[in-house]
C-alpha cells in the first residue's frame, strides 16, 4: 500500500552489510505493523513485548536468507502471527486458527491500549465504538490501523485470512462501527 519497496530492499541490504542505522530505520518503519499484529491477537502487554522482541531477533538471523528483501513486510506479518499463536497456545487459550473460525475470548486481565491518552471526545467515541465491535472486526481493524498501514497481503498473512475477504470485511466492520458510534453519540446527547 504505497510501500517504497526498493527503499525497503535497500535498507535490508544495508542492514546485511552491518549498518545499524539501516536496522533502526527498519524497526521504525515496520514496528507499528508488528505491534498491531501482537495487539490484534489480544496479547497481554508482557506477551506482546516478548513477541515483538523475538520477531526482530529472528529477523536478525534471517537477514541473509530472506530471498526477496522487498517482501520483508510479508515475512514480518507471518513471523509475528506464528509467534503470537505460540504464545496463545502455550497459555491454552482458544485460538483462531484459520483464522476466521473460533475466536478467543478477550483476555480481560491484559492491560490494553490506554484510552486516557486520547485527546478529543471524537477520538474517545471512536475508540469506544471500536472496542464494542466483534472480536473479528477488532482484530482486522487493529492490524489495518498500523501506521504506516500494511498491504492487503500483509494483513492476509498476519491474520490467516484470504486477501479477497479483507476489503468487504473491512467495509462491514466500518459500518458496524458507524452504528455503534451513533449509539454512543446518541447516549451522550441523551444524557446531557
Amino acid at each position: 500500500m504505497g510501500e517504497d519497496e526498493s527503499g525497503v530492499a535497500a535498507l535490508v541490504e544495508s542492514a546485511r552489510a552491518g549498518e545499524s542505522q539501516a536496522w533502526d530505520d527498519l524497526v521504525a518503519r515496520f514496528g507499528g505493523r508488528v505491534w498491531a499484529v501482537c495487539r490484534a491477537y489480544n496479547l497481554s502487554r508482557a506477551d506482546a513485548d516478548d513477541v515483538f522482541q523475538v520477531v526482530w531477533m529472528r529477523l536478525v538471523n534471517s537477514l541473509d536468507s530472506i530471498r526477496e528483501p522487498d517482501r520483508l513486510g510479508a515475512w514480518l506479518a507471518t513471523t509475528t502471527r506464528h509467534e503470537a499463536l505460540r504464545v496463545l497456545r502455550k497459555a491454552g487459550r482458544q485460538i483462531p486458527v484459520g483464522d476466521d473460525a473460533g475466536l478467543d475470548r478477550p483476555d480481560e486481565s491484559a492491560p490494553g491500549p490506554d484510552a486516557r491518552l486520547l485527546r478529543t471526545e471524537r477520538e474517545a467515541a471512536l475508540w469506544a465504538a471500536l472496542e464494542e465491535l466483534s472480536p473479528d472486526c477488532q482484530r482486522l481493524l487493529r492490524v489495518m490501523l498500523a501506521d504506516p498501514p500494511p498491504s492487503y497481503q500483509e494483513v492476509s498473512l498476519a491474520l490467516g485470512m484470504p486477501v479477497g475477504s479483507i476489503g468487504p470485511t473491512r467495509g462491514r466492520c466500518l459500518n458496524h462501527l458507524r452504528s455503534k458510534l451513533r449509539g454512543i453519540n446518541g447516549g451522550v446527547a441523551g444524557s446531557s
Binding site: D24, G31, G32, W35, M57, L63, D147
Partner: protein, 163 residues
Amino acid sequence: MSDDVGLGGGPAADEEDETLMAELRAAAGRADPVPDEAVVAARAAFAWRTMDAELASLAYDSLLDDRPLAGVRGVATPRLLTFQAAGLTLEVEAVGEGQERRLLGQLVPPQPGHIEVRHRGGRLTVEADGMGRFAAAGLRPGPVSLRCDPATTGPVYTDWFLA
C-alpha cells in the same frame, strides 16, 4: 441505517471509509503506540547478528505444528522443537512454569560438545555427554538461543524461540 445496505457504495462511500480509517489510525497511534522499551529492545536485537557460526533454523515446533486435539486441553505435554543446520540437528524439549524454564536436548548425530544457552538472564554453558544429551536449568522466560561447538562440524547457533 442506509450505510448498512448494499455492498461497496461507490467512490463516495470509499472516501468515507478512508476518512474514518484515518481518524481511527490517529486514535490508535495515541491509545496504543509501540512502547518505547519495545523499540529499544528491537533495535538492540541487531547486536545479536552472528557471522561466525551457522544458523540452525527452526524446523519443527510442537506448539505450532501440532494442532491441539479437542478435549485434551489442560493435559501438559512437553514442547518439542527441532533446529536444523547442514551437519547438525538439535532437538530440544522446553519445560517449566512461572519464572523458570528448563531445557533437555539431544545433538544429532550424537556427540559430545559445549553448548552455550543465551537467555534473558544471561548465558550459561552446559556439556553434551557422549550420547549427545544435554540439560540446562534456571533459564528465565523469554527469548532463548543455543550455540553449540560440536566435534563434527563448525559452530552452530539456533534461531531464537520464546521459552
